[in-house]
Amino acid sequence: MTDKSIIVENLTYNYGTLVAVDHISFEMGTGEILGFLGPNGAGKTTTVKMLTGQLLPQDGRAILLGKDIARETQAARKHIGVCFEQTNLYEQMTALDNLQLFAELFGVKEFDGYALLKRVGLEGRERDKVSNYSKGMKQRLMVARSLVNRPEIIFMDEPTAGLDPVSSEAIGNIILEERDRGATIFLTTHDMWEADKLCHRVAFVEQGKIAAIDTPRNLKQLYGKRSLIAEVMSGAGLEKREISMDTPDTARSVEKLFEKEKVVTIHSEEATLEDIFIKVTGRRLTE
């Protein structure tokens, strides 16, 4: 066993002449949450497919918990959980039966489906057919299903896409609980705010390559700018003033502002991950 849960080296996959994943390399430590961010078609899903053994890499390799996923697929899969972006539950079965099926496939002994469903907020609806669930409930069940084997690595593909804030927060909390349990979480998302809140590190993926990978804080420091935004009263009404916080004379500039202008409000502002993504890749996440 290694303290690196995931080691990816030069992972590559092409669909014909289209390069989907282009020699990407990264590592993930045990208990780490890595946000994999990129627009549609950037290669996120293909990467997840290779990391979970659904696709064989055409070049490079992925080591999960010391096992090459392409060669020791079944052994590696015992320790992973996957939450798909697209709802893919057995809708004619009950939530409990859905979980029970996967518990049996994973060989989980003494599986307590009720406890897991309670954990994702589906208590009382355990024996309902999934077809009667709302989208948010289905997504919670998808998250629950990815946890039936208490996985050491969890792949979550857009787990909160299209959900209401309550469901999103519930899933976010489960992700943090799993992190606290020691699980390594590979999270693909479009939601920069979610990534910023949940992830230890984020990777910006564009055209099959990792354009940048670091902690959100470091990325912001490296690529972003911090500033103070003040609203001042002038003859024409409220006006904005911006003072950079990354220059040596920030304090002097603030002092001057208060001396010369009537400041109504003032607050700090830092670059968002969205801003950094645009700066690094030249594209928006949701184009």
Partner: protein
């Protein structure tokens, strides 16, 4: 192979199967329908030959024909009434004799005999009637009429030992029960791929081979179970039950292979229905050949289901044994092995 995994998958598929009304419709109701069809069809064969005739003067040879057992001749007063009866479908054939028939024969001439057929009458009836008139004329004049005839035996000659229609339909119905499971199995798989649940399964430690084994067992179980139930209820195991049992079992494996192939070809359930129906019709052709002797010939041997149909038919309807259908069973086993292998290879690609 992990039995726990296969059991879990089977349990899941059984749950999905029983919760789907379409599957229930084409299986449970289907089998009731097939059994009903069998029992509704007459158990006895009507061996009487009915013929309409207009004969202003009845030659003695025709009078003898009337007196023969199994021949039912109804005489009409006018040729027009005979024509109408044939047109109405009361008789497939009618013969109108001329007024001067006896005199013409006596003078060595050729009387003009008119034979009426319904348009739907098979061409063989025409030959049979010509032969009949030829025979009667020979009886009457003591000499053959001067034209050529060709003798043709239609289907297997079962003179005095004909098989009732419903018994001839048993192989067709049994094979149909098997074939319908192509649709059931292929749609179960197509739905799994379409809804993405197959992807969810494939990221577990389960092997693809275990998935195929579970699907295969379900398909064989459904097809074989229903076919055996049907054959048991319609007396299909009264002779050489082991051969019939084995043929149906191998046939069920073939059906599973074809189900895999259809599922790998089709993108969704609609496509499964389209492809499945096309294949089902082709595979049912040998069964129709059993019901209507002479309908098909040697070309039917290229249809994989021929060897299953022919085996079941010859065993249950003609009482043949291992020696007679052994080659059929061998070929059927080979075809089934090939089809299931091809089905698994193509489906594995589809699951990717």
């Amino acid at each position: 192979m992990n039995l726990r995994v296969i059991r879990a998958l089977l349990k899941k598929d059984a749950a999905l199967f029983t919760s789907n009304r379409f599957y229930l419709l084409i299986t449970v109701i289907g089998i009731i329908f097939y059994i009903g069809v069998y029992f509704i069809l007459p158990a006895q064969l009507d061996e009487e030959f009915s013929l309409g005739m207009y004969a202003p003067v009845v030659p003695p040879a025709f009078t003898e024909l009337t007196e023969r057992e199994g021949v039912n001749i109804e005489y009409f007063n006018t040729e027009e009434l005979l024509r109408q009866a044939v047109l109405d479908g009361d008789y497939q054939t009618g013969i109108a004799l001329p007024l001067d028939i006896v005199d013409t024969w006596a003078s060595g001439g050729k009387p003009e005999i008119t034979v009426y057929y319904v348009s739907t009458a098979p061409p063989e009836v025409s030959s049979a009637i010509v032969l009949l008139v030829q025979e009667l004329a020979y009886n009457q004049t003591g000499q053959a009429l001067n034209f050529d005839t060709t003798e043709e035996i239609l289907g297997q000659d079962l003179l005095g030992n004909q098989i009732a229609l419903r018994d001839r339909m048993r192989p067709l119905l049994a094979i149909f029960i098997l074939l319908v499971e192509i649709l059931t199995l292929a749609s179960l798989i197509a739905i799994e791929i379409e809804q993405g649940t197959a992807r969810a399964l494939l990221v577990t430690p389960m092997r693809t081979s275990e998935l195929f084994m579970a699907k295969g067992l379900l398909g064989v179980g459904l097809a074989f179970g229903q076919a055996v139930l049907f054959m048991g209820l319609v007396g299909g195991f009264s002779h050489q039950p082991l051969i019939v049992f084995l043929a149906l079992l191998i046939g069920s494996v073939m059906v599973v292979g074809i189900g895999f192939l259809v599922a790998s070809l089709a993108r969704d359930v609609m496509a499964v229905t389209g492809w499945g129906m096309l294949i089902l019709i082709i595979l049912a052709v040998p069964g129709f050949g059993v019901v209507i002797p002479g309908l098909i010939s040697d070309w039917a041997r290229v249809i994989p289901s021929y060897y299953l149909t022919d085996t079941v038919n010859r065993v249950i309807n003609y009482g043949v044994g291992w020696g007679d259908v052994g080659p059929n069973l061998g070929i059927l086993t080979g075809i089934s092995a090939l089809v299931i292998w091809a089905g698994m290879v193509t489906l594995r690609r589809r699951y990717r």
